[in-house]
């Protein structure tokens, strides 16, 4: 009886869309516009595109090639490359697990905002009244209504990581919904995932296009776009710019998690992944630039609105205070600060949305887009865990994995959950991924051998890879990765004790001892898989070699 044939994509298009859906995620919307602003607007595109060509596309190609050749998830694929390197796959799975734990919280927040958009007055547009009904709540007065809504009503954040309240029931419900939907998308394996990605990969572009048109017609949007496209060339001399560009490409493409290997393992053997790798990488970068334009037009609109509100307020006092240059004072208030991460998506954007006419519609569209982006990435992450587990027949039921992640992830819905979320976001994946991908590229180039790899690709595609690819794999990319890795380590050591931003405090607070211990655990647990597995395999082999030797001696004695 033949073994069950491996699942496969319905069509190569499904594979491409799955990769696009995975790679194009919230980082394209959140982090890239922030980096653009930090590093001199249009000038940032230069290091970004250079890094894409030097590092992004070759590594993407590499992972797809491994997955398609070995037709196994990350653990199996790396064990096939070299038995001592199974740990690389295991490290990928552990990192993906950490990501799965905290990533769905973002989807939960998107759901929360989406559900709250179905009201006549958006709840983050006005401060709620205090108990006396004499004015808005004090906490809300000190901050802005959007900040209040995010930190108090959505997160119900506690003052520091040590203080913990209970679960936020609304959050927990949205989190449950996020996991139920994730389960629904993967329950039939690649067959169901393949259908879902048609929607999750394409609809965000529709929303972004609508937003681009809306954004461009907003009052003052062009100021923002002009700001983005005026390059500040002196930023290129700053090494941090190049490092950030390299890091952004790296994380944006989702390398090292094992998701690409998992997706490619379901491909037909002779699928032309070379072309697909280039297409997906460029789509990913293009989307980043596209969303940066949209974000900057929104920034421009917001800044202009703030400027004009400020002017109005001062003009009404103006005749009392005398004629001083009001415009200067207002400019100070309107210079937008660079915000990234959850802050940008949920605070800045929702503030911009509330000022638009028909804000409910824009709000719904926007949060649906965020949801699709997040869900698409989530699919990749969970496939990265499920595929190797299924290969090794460890866990046959997906529901078990989902349930486990759900229960553990509920911790992020508590009042101190956001601090844990930030911790996972900052330390859970960054460092270990760099290490994993570095080992990957060195392993394929030098341990497996470029020649053998070339032959495998020729077997699959029908032609050998170009000299360009070989130079990148063997030389440029490993060098770049080593530089990044060293930079991270140095930065981490120089940074001293890790700190975080506590609610209502201006300065960064140091993590308490258990927090620092947990960070250490996060970093060590994934990275140590590699040496530990190598050691384990080495010991196993020695044991087998000894047993084999004993058998031989027994036979010779018997004969």
């Amino acid at each position: 009886m033949a073994k069950d044939a491996r699942d496969s994509w319905g069509s190569p298009m499904e594979f491409v869309l799955a990769c696009v859906s995975y790679a194009v995620g919230l980082g394209n919307v959140w982090r890239f516009p922030y980096l653009c602003q930090m590093h001199g607007g249009g000038g940032f595109l230069i290091p970004y595109l250079i890094m894409l060509v030097l590092e992004g596309v070759p590594l993407f190609y590499l992972e797809l090639a491994i997955g398609q050749k070995m037709r196994l998830g990350s653990i199996g694929a790396w064990t096939a490359i070299s038995p001592y390197l199974g740990g690389v796959g295991l490290a990928s799975v552990v990192t993906s697990l950490y990501l799965c734990l905290y990533y769905n919280i973002i989807n939960a927040w998107s759901f929360w905002y989406l559900f709250h958009s179905f009201q006549s007055v958006l709840p983050w547009a006005v401060c709620p009244a205090n108990s006396n009904l004499t004015g808005p709540l004090e906490e809300c007065e000190k901050a802005t209504p959007t900040q209040y809504f995010f930190y108090r009503e959505t997160l119900n954040i506690s003052p520091s990581i040590e203080e913990n309240g209970g679960l936020h029931m609304g959050q927990a419900l949205c989190f449950l919904l996020a996991w139920v939907i994730t389960y629904l998308f993967i329950v039939r394996g690649i067959k169901s995932t393949g259908k879902v990605v048609y929607f999750t990969a394409t609809f965000p572009y529709v929303v972004m296009l609508i937003y681009l048109i809306r954004g461009m017609t907003l009052h003052g949007a062009l100021n923002g776009v002009k700001y983005m496209f005026t390059p500040k060339m002196e930023e290129l001399a700053n090494p941090t710019t190049w490092i950030n560009a390299a890091t952004q490409i790296f994380f944006s493409l989702g390398l090292g998690f094992g998701s690409l290997i998992a997706f490619a393992s379901y491909n037909q053997y002779h699928n032309n992944f070379e072309r697909q790798a280039i297409i997906v990488s460029f789509i990913n970068s293009g989307t980043s630039i596209f969303s940066a334009i949209v974000t900057f037009s929104i920034y421009g609109f917001k800044a202009t609105v703030n400027y004009e509100t400020c002017l109005e307020r001062y003009i009404s006092f103006g005749t009392e205070a005398g004629a001083f240059p009001v415009s200067h004072l207002c400019l100070i208030f309107c210079l937008f600060q660079a915000v990234e991460g959850a802050g940008l998506a949920f605070i800045v954007y929702s503030e911009a949305i509330k000022n638009m006419p028909l804000s409910q519609l824009w709000s719904v569209l926007y949060f649906v887009m965020l949801l699709l982006l997040g869900m698409g990435s989530m699919l990749g992450n969970i496939t990265a865990i499920i595929t190797p587990l299924r290969d090794f027949k460890v866990v046959a039921r997906i529901s078990g994995v989902c349930l486990l992640c759900l229960l553990l992830g509920l911790g992020f819905t508590t009042t101190s959950g956001n601090y844990w979320f930030t911790m996972f976001n900052d330390y859970g994946a960054t460092f270990s991924l760099l290490f994993v991908v570095l080992i990957e590229v060195i392993a394929v180039s030098y341990i497996y051998g470029i020649r053998r790899f070339e032959k495998d690709i020729e077997d699959m595609l029908g032609h050998r890879p170009n000299w360009y690819w070989k130079i990148m794999w063997a030389g440029v990319s490993p060098l770049l990765l080593i530089c990044l890795f060293v930079f991270y380590v140095v930065n981490y050591i120089q940074g001293g004790t890790p700190t975080y931003q506590a609610w209502n405090k201006d300065l960064q607070t140091e993590y308490p001892v258990f927090g620092q211990a947990f960070i250490g655990l996060l970093l060590v647990s994934s990275v140590s898989c590699i040496p530990l597995t190598a050691l384990y395999v080495f010991c196993q082999r020695k044991k087998h070699a000894q047993q084999h030797k004993q058998q031989l001696t027994v036979n010779t004695v018997a004969a």
């Binding site: 179905f118 919904l177 139920v180 629904l184 009404s316």
Partner: protein, 215 residues
Amino acid sequence: MFYKIVLFLCLPSVLAEQLCKPNAPDGLKVRLSIKTALDSEAYEWNRNEKFLFQATIAFAMSQYTGQEFKVSNILVCDETPRVSFWFVVTSPANLSQLMSKGVVELAVRKFRNRINNAFLLSDETLEFVGVLPTLASPVEPATPPWLIVFGVMMSLVSAGIVFVLVSTVVQNKRKRKQKRDDQDDDEETRVKTVENGCDGVYNTSFSEDEPNTRM
């Protein structure tokens, strides 16, 4: 005698002036920003508007305290052309005694909406300095609306999962039935070959009665 009459006639206005002055302990300052609020439809502030103001305050005081206040009980002074002024409220019983600021404030707060509407202004544009505005009490629906949308979404997704699981089970049953049918066909063909006594290749893996090959 004549002088006494004059003094007597002048006394109320003199008293009024003394009772109402800027920063009086029981006085309230009012600031109107008619132009900001109404722009092109702004009206001129004149004696008649002042009269309307006195009337609305008298109305508020009467409604709140139950005593009967007249327009003459509301004294206005220190008017500025950008429209701000001070006012005090005298007690209807005793014209030289002022109503306490607290009572006036509470009355104004209670009927703020009516006073605002008389002038087509709002809490920000008709400002009683020191008196906190009363915000409309928030309308709280029985079920928060987000919960309704959540419920809809959750039921749709659960229905989806149930559908997928049921269809998987049904498919498996069909596959198993097909396998059983195939197996039955196989057995029939096997029986036939034995009966016919063919010299075909005898595959020991199919025979169940002789697990061991005969030596």
